[in-house]
Amino acid sequence: MRRALDRTLFLASASCGVLACAVLVGFLAIIFSRGHSALTWSFFTDEMRQAGTGGGIVYNLVGTAILVGTAVVICAPFAIAIALLERVYLHNSTLRRILIGGIYTLNGVPTILFGIFGLIVFVKFFGWGKSWLTGGILLAALILPTVSVALIERIKSMPRKYLDAAAGLGLNESQIIWSVILPQSWGGLLTGLLLGLARAAGETAPIMFTATIFAGVSLPHGIHDSPVLSLPYHIFTLTQDSFDPSQDARLWGAAIVLLMLVLLLSLIALPSRLRIHEEAND
């Protein structure tokens, strides 16, 4: 009886695992079979033509790169500040809990709300119109929890002996931060940023009313009324507007590119992510 129960449990777990993998494989198979014919060299180097039915996606790639690049540049200093606040400056555990609670809450905010917030504050109130900078700021806020938590975990996993040794030499707090904590935890920042990038690159909701349009622009020329093209919004619009989305190889081609981009960023971050867990478990 007990053996039968064990076996059933194992089989149930195994079939769930197989099902999860099968969904992923099937999903990949479908988009590759539909989209691979679009993946030519010129697809990556040409501008979009005829409302997405011709040409390539070069400015969509560039636009996405601008958005996530801006997000990273804005996010990094805030993430460092939050991590130092949590690990070094806040001695009061209640304040620390409030900070961490805030970070996790931010992580749980539906992304469409970021979009609406951006629309109200930046597009309307500041009068920026649609702007790449708004997109960068919103994506930065969106990935801030991921990046901060990765950095906090990294600093936490740092052996205590380094801090003791540096303090034992008479270094003050900021010298310890600059000479010990930050140099030893930049890997955590990098991991967090890569994971954040992977997430930001695929987001549509925060940027669709605030930072990106479907066609008609190339590179941004300023801040006011200066949207960019982007991959996710491109896919969104093509899917919504084309006569039969399933037959549109360019749509699926763009989806493959976006998926590969996100997968690549996650893969680059993987080794150092695993290392953080190992060190934390030491």
Binding site: L163, D164, A165, G168, L169, G170, L171, S179, P183
Partner: protein
Amino acid sequence: MIEVCAQREAPPVMVERPQPVIAVRNLAVRTSARLILREASFAVERSQIFVLIGPSGAGKTTLLRCLNRLTDLMPGLQVTGEISVAEKSIYGPSVDVNALRARVGMIFQQPVIFPGSVAANVLFGAKRLRRMSRAEEETSLESVLREVALWGEVKDRLKAPALALSVGQQQRLCIARALAVQPEVLLMDEPTSALDPKSTQAIEDLLLRLKASRTIVLITHNIAQARRIADWIGCVYLRDGAGELVETSPCEEIFCNPRSHEVREYLSPL
């Protein structure tokens, strides 16, 4: 042992002692839950090696860490009593703790090597604590490495990663790093317990040389080592669940004529 004791001269009677470098009065350490160290008082004179011995968990490390306020970094510890270094209280409100730690350096049981070169490690504290020209850096680097007898072994690989050194060399490197900050006192928490006999010998020789210019407080579990290098010995023992400095005496005195039964018990091999 008996022979050494027989040769011992009678302790000098009430000679005038110089001002101690470290004076500890009624030092007690507790957490909210329990007493860790019961009131301890002792003094360490200039150019002495003061060795703390006693069983594990008796509070030796905590006592040592009080002397340069590394205890501040351990949350929840409450330190009371009076400690002065060079006649200045170190627990007063206006004390610059970082400056204190530069004057009272600390060497840990396991050598702590920062990622980076030998040279970067040696100057890790020094070049951040005072402005140094390139020439000063080089002079300081060479002089402290010579002082710890490491110069000959590493002079051709000052730019090599310090982690490539042997553990014994790493520990001497840590001592060099502390010396580069020019401390008056060195605190050492079992500095040779991770080392092989040859490296241990090298460190002991080094300590005997260093004490001419610095005062050293050292913890060891190696009784033979204590006997070889100590001028004074303090024995910390657990009494009723809290650490207590049960005896402080000149080295020979404690070995030949221990006053408390705990010390007698601890020093007797069986």
